[in-house]
């Protein structure tokens, strides 16, 4: 469960202050599927980074699974991120010199998990995402859709409770975009909280819940 209370995120640009997030109050239940829509610069990515603890609120409180995470130190934050949060980016962000399997393995390596357990998990996720025969390919030998599926596999390998996707289909054609959406939604069906930023109204309509952001505020929060 995610709970944001009176969240502000200000950026100082020269002598001007940009209110990227302006008094956000938001509660997201475990297993929800939420799309975040809104015009460019409305604060969607800032909101996602904050939920992912990559960014910090200027003021306000953030509770993740009942715990006030605004009070965590750098180490605890990293551990929480590693265990509870998965990121999927528009630009994939795969490490170019590592193979698909090695990229997927990264969160487990950072957590110091035993290689034999890692192998088991990776084989399973590769199978699920239809990537088994691509396991030893480098990112530049994969298609865009395959790359994003590798990124999804990496985001979910630690079995996090929340999956944050910032325009996951932004760099993909319709067909691969569709595959990636299917993959994300099936993960949601299995209980993961899916929060997805998108510009695409058609994609936004697929989720049960959708919020619209304007100028750092939540303008509407609708259930369908």
């Amino acid at each position: 469960m995610i709970k944001l209370e009176n969240i502000h995120r200000d950026f100082e640009v020269g002598d001007q202050i940009v209110h990227a997030l302006d008094d956000i109050n938001l509660e997201i239940q475990q297993g929800e599927y939420l799309s975040v829509m809104g015009p460019s610069g409305s604060g969607k990515s800032t909101l996602l980074n904050l939920i992912g603890m990559l960014d910090h609120a200027t003021s306000g409180s953030y509770y993740l699974n009942g715990k006030n995470v605004t009070e965590l130190d750098e180490k605890q934050e990293a551990e929480t991120r590693n265990k509870n949060i998965g990121f999927v980016f528009q630009a994939f962000h795969l490490v170019p010199r590592l193979t698909a399997a090695q990229n997927i393995e990264l969160p487990l390596i950072l957590a110091g998990i035993d290689p034999s357990i890692r192998k088991e998990k990776i084989d399973k996720v590769l199978e699920e995402l239809n990537l088994t025969d691509r396991a030893h390919h480098k990112p530049d030998q994969l298609s865009g859709g395959q790359r994003q599926r590798v990124a999804i596999a990496r985001a979910t390998i630690s079995e996090p409770s929340v999956l944050l996707a910032d325009e996951p289909t932004g760099n993909l054609d319709t067909k691969s975009g569709h595959d990636v959406m299917k993959t994300l939604e099936s993960l949601n069906d299995h209980g993961i909280t899916l929060i997805m930023v998108t510009h695409d109204v058609a994609l936004g309509d697929r989720s049960k819940r959708s919020i619209k952001m304007v100028d750092g505020r939540i303008e509407s929060d609708t259930l369908s």
Binding site: L54, K75, A78, R81, F87, R97, I109, L110
Partner: protein, 399 residues
Amino acid sequence: MLSKDFITLTGTSLWTHKLRSFLTMLGISVGIAAVVLLTSIGEGIHKYVVSEFTQFGTTIVAINPGKTTTMGMSMGVFGTVRPLSIEDAEALKRLPYAKSVVGFVQGNAELEGNNRTRRTTVYGTGHDFPVAFSMPVRSGKFLPDDDPNSPRAFAVLGSKVKQELFGNLNPLGQRIRIGGDRYRVVGVMESKGQILGFDMDDTVYIPLARGLELFNREGLVEIDVMYDEGTNVDQVVKGIKRILMARHGREDFTITTQQQMLDVLGSILDVLTFAVGAIGGISLLVGGIGIITIMTISVNERTSEIGLIRALGAKHSQILSLFLGEAVVLSAIGGIAGLILGVGIGLLLTTAIPALPIHTPWTFVILAESIAILIGLAAGVIPARRAARLDPVEALRAE
């Protein structure tokens, strides 16, 4: 993170930029090779000089006239200095543990024999000289054990002098002139070669009393006492002091043990080794700057990757150690290559120029490798800290 994974991640990262990694390692290699080679030469010279000094054994005590400190300042100005006499040397022979006592005067004189002349070093010394300094006689005999105050006019030739004056003729029994006085050749020394630059074969030995006369000197230049192996050197020094003080009434002489000589010599040579090592250290410094440069470039290039692994849950400390690890691997492998290079060039030099003393002690090897690793750590710290402190959101935006 498991150490095996740590090594894999570091390795693949360096392997991706093979040429760059190789060149950076090369920088460290050259530095380490320079340090190892130069200090090895310094250490080789050290060993060489010390072995030259100790070839007469370590159980020697030298006595020189005048009271000098180790700083070389003569204290003679504060009072009259009695010269060391032949009688002093004779008196020292009474010391129970003195194996032999040899007095010296030394100078240059003109030699004339077999109608040839040669200017050479002349030593006035005693009967015990060949035994004390293990310089064997090749033919004939050394100077006889005459009355030290009125010895017969006998001379013993160094092998080179013999060759120059007499060629292949037998010089034994021949008459020569040294500084105008007539001597009879009674022996020829075995060839000894050079010791610290002195040609020991270009010499003539005559009795001590005649040497004093020849060079018109009041006293001996030096008396050397060889003592029994098992005797404590302090006891020997005390014994010598007692005898000479009784004879001179005051301490107007200087006793130098072989150990003191070695200590002074050793500290001078250590400074030499350190100085050449420091010169090599400059190239090591350049190698270290190479690591800083390449690691800084690497951090810049991998900014978005750093942002990513932060998003995947990497701690500051993990990013810090990953980049430090790369720097240390570069310097450690570079260091090993440098050691091989340095020792290899050393071996080549030894084969090419056998006279050049080169010696690489194991401690140098370990020290050099530790220095290489330390340089890697020091050079890696700045870029690695920068990597760890990157803001993950900003880093992810970089492309």
